[in-house]
């Protein structure tokens, strides 16, 4: 039996080249094409799986975020103060650079609303209301607030939340970027609507604690006093929680005193050496106090 195999092997080696070279060449070409096709298909499937897990490409993330933030800007436009807007962008950009996601087109804005709040959208779009901004006393506090929102983006909290609300197959064939057909556009709209709802209902509370914890580290990395975020929370905690200005924040975040307790507890003994970081109250007043 063993020798039969050997004979067959010798035969095939001996004869095969003579007969099959042209055919083999042809086959190889074909095979290459097939392989490429298969690879393309596999890549597509892989992308589908990634999406089913809620993993969108960066470009898709940015596209969704741009739509979401445009929605918020539709409710409350930017404050008409270029100096202020540039300043907030500089602080935000500097903080974002301390995260692992400096591939995003980070953009920041102060919007015309008395409500006390700040919002982040996937892709690196962040807005803070004038109501919250006017409670701030220095640059480190602004940095703390922006770092909290930046952390939501870096950790993809909104995308994770959206992923939970949509069915698995919704993601698997979602072409966010080239949403050409009516069906695709409808899907994109549905996704954006769900995203907008998130701004009114809020993220999972554990994401808020996570963003607080990451924010103080980002602020410290950027050279700011990380305790400034605790100061902002202390100020918010001193406001009547029934006031109209706090309504949305209170509905969408854990109780402020619990955030304070958790954050202070986690920072205890770990952030002391960064407490001497910058607060820059003078620059803050110069660039943001001109109204």
């Amino acid at each position: 039996m063993k020798s039969l195999i050997q004979i067959l092997l010798v035969l095939s080696l001996g004869f095969a080249p003579a007969f099959t070279i042209p055919a083999l060449a042809f086959d190889l070409d074909d095979l290459n094409k097939e392989l490429k096709k298969a690879k393309k298909k596999a890549d597509k499937e892989l992308r589908k799986i990634d999406k089913a897990r809620g993993k969108l490409t960066t470009a898709e993330e940015i596209e969704i975020g741009a739509n979401l933030i445009s929605g918020l800007l539709g409710a409350a436009p930017l404050v008409g103060d270029p100096v202020l807007q540039h300043y907030v962008n500089d602080v935000g950009y500097w903080i974002a650079r301390q995260s692992k996601r400096n591939d995003l087109p980070w953009q920041f804005g102060v919007i015309q609303s008395d409500g006390i709040n700040a919002f982040a959208a996937p892709g690196g779009y962040i807005v803070i209301t004038m109501g919250l901004f006017s409670l701030l006393e220095n640059e480190a506090q602004l940095a703390g607030v922006l770092a909290h929102e930046i952390s939501h983006v870096v950790r993809k909290h909104h995308l994770k939340a959206l992923h939970k609300t949509m069915k698995r197959d919704f993601w698997s064939d979602l072409p966010v970027q080239a949403a050409n057909s009516e069906k695709d556009k409808k899907k994109l709209r549905k996704l954006i609507n769900s995203g907008v709802q998130l701004y009114a209902t809020g993220l999972d509370r554990k994401y808020e604690y996570d963003a607080d914890l990451r924010a103080v580290v980002l602020a410290a990395r950027a050279g700011y006093d990380p305790y400034a975020l605790l100061d902002v929370l202390t100020t918010i905690d001193s406001i009547n929680p029934d006031s109209e200005e706090l309504a949305v924040l209170m509905n969408t975040h854990p109780p402020t005193n619990e955030r304070l307790d958790k954050l202070a507890d986690k920072m205890d003994g770990r952030m002391d050496k960064y407490a001497s970081g910058q607060t820059n109250p003078r620059r803050f007043r110069q660039l943001a106090g001109g109204r």
């Binding site: 741009a66 445009s70 929605g71 800007l73 539709g74 409350a76 436009p77 930017l78 270029p82 962008n89 500089d90 935000g92 950009y93 500097w94 650079r97 953009q107 804005g109 919007i111 015309q112 008395d114 409500g115 209301t129 409670l135 006393e137 907008v196 709802q197 996570d210 914890l213 990451r214 103080v216 580290v217 990395r221 950027a222 050279g223 305790y227 400034a228 605790l230 100061d231 202390t234 905690d237 001193s238 406001i239 009547n240 929680p241 029934d242 006031s243 109209e244 309504a247 949305v248 509905n251 005193n257 304070l260 202070a264 507890d265 986690k266 960064y274 109250p281 620059r283 803050f284 007043r285």
Partner: protein, 183 residues
């Protein structure tokens, strides 16, 4: 027009004293320092639940006085919950300790029940400032404004701007590890 800065200055001075002598309660047992820094010597400990007067705020610190414990010094801001509980202590301060904006913001909001009332619970006063934009309904029903989105882009910062921004602000990047979820 010439008088406008003067009027604003007077306005600020009016705002400052009303802010300066705030009262609070110590949230947890806290070390008290002679200066707003952990590098200086502790002057004592203050017990959780102590009622204190707050003289000044600086960065993440507040200068407090506890009549009961007879202690004066600086504690971390987050260890103080604001409210008007402590006996009134007359103090002088020349600085607008809570900052320009919050001074103005709080003055107009003081009368409106915006801050928690002296009992520490909520005030019965109703907010007189109309809240513009971003109520829950407004968020949900907003029509996306892509023109405003384009306008936002023009203020975006860049690596180029960072040199001036960080050197003027005395900022330099430091390595700081993330804090783990479980302590």
């Amino acid at each position: 027009m010439k008088h406008l800065p003067q009027i604003l200055t007077i306005f600020l001075f009016l705002a400052a004293p009303s802010q300066a002598n705030q009262d609070g309660v110590i949230v947890r047992q806290a070390p008290v320092y002679a200066k707003p820094s952990t590098a200086v010597q502790q002057v004592g400990q203050i017990k959780a639940g102590s009622r204190v007067s707050v003289f000044d705020r600086r960065g993440g610190w507040q200068e407090i006085f506890s009549e009961k414990q007879g202690i004066t010094g600086w504690v971390r801001s987050y260890q103080v919950r604001q409210g008007n509980f402590a006996p009134q202590v007359k103090t002088e301060t020349s600085s607008d300790s809570r900052g320009f904006l919050s001074g103005l913001a709080s003055l107009s909001r003081r009368a409106s029940g915006f801050f928690k009332s002296s009992s520490g619970s909520t005030s019965s006063g109703t907010a007189t400032i109309g809240v513009r934009g971003l109520s829950e309904d407004e968020i949900k029903s907003a029509v996306a404004d892509f023109e405003e989105f384009e306008r936002m882009k023009q203020f975006a910062s860049s690596q180029k701007r960072m040199n001036v921004f960080t050197s003027q602000g005395g900022l330099s990047a430091t390595r700081v590890p993330y804090i783990s979820e479980s302590k």
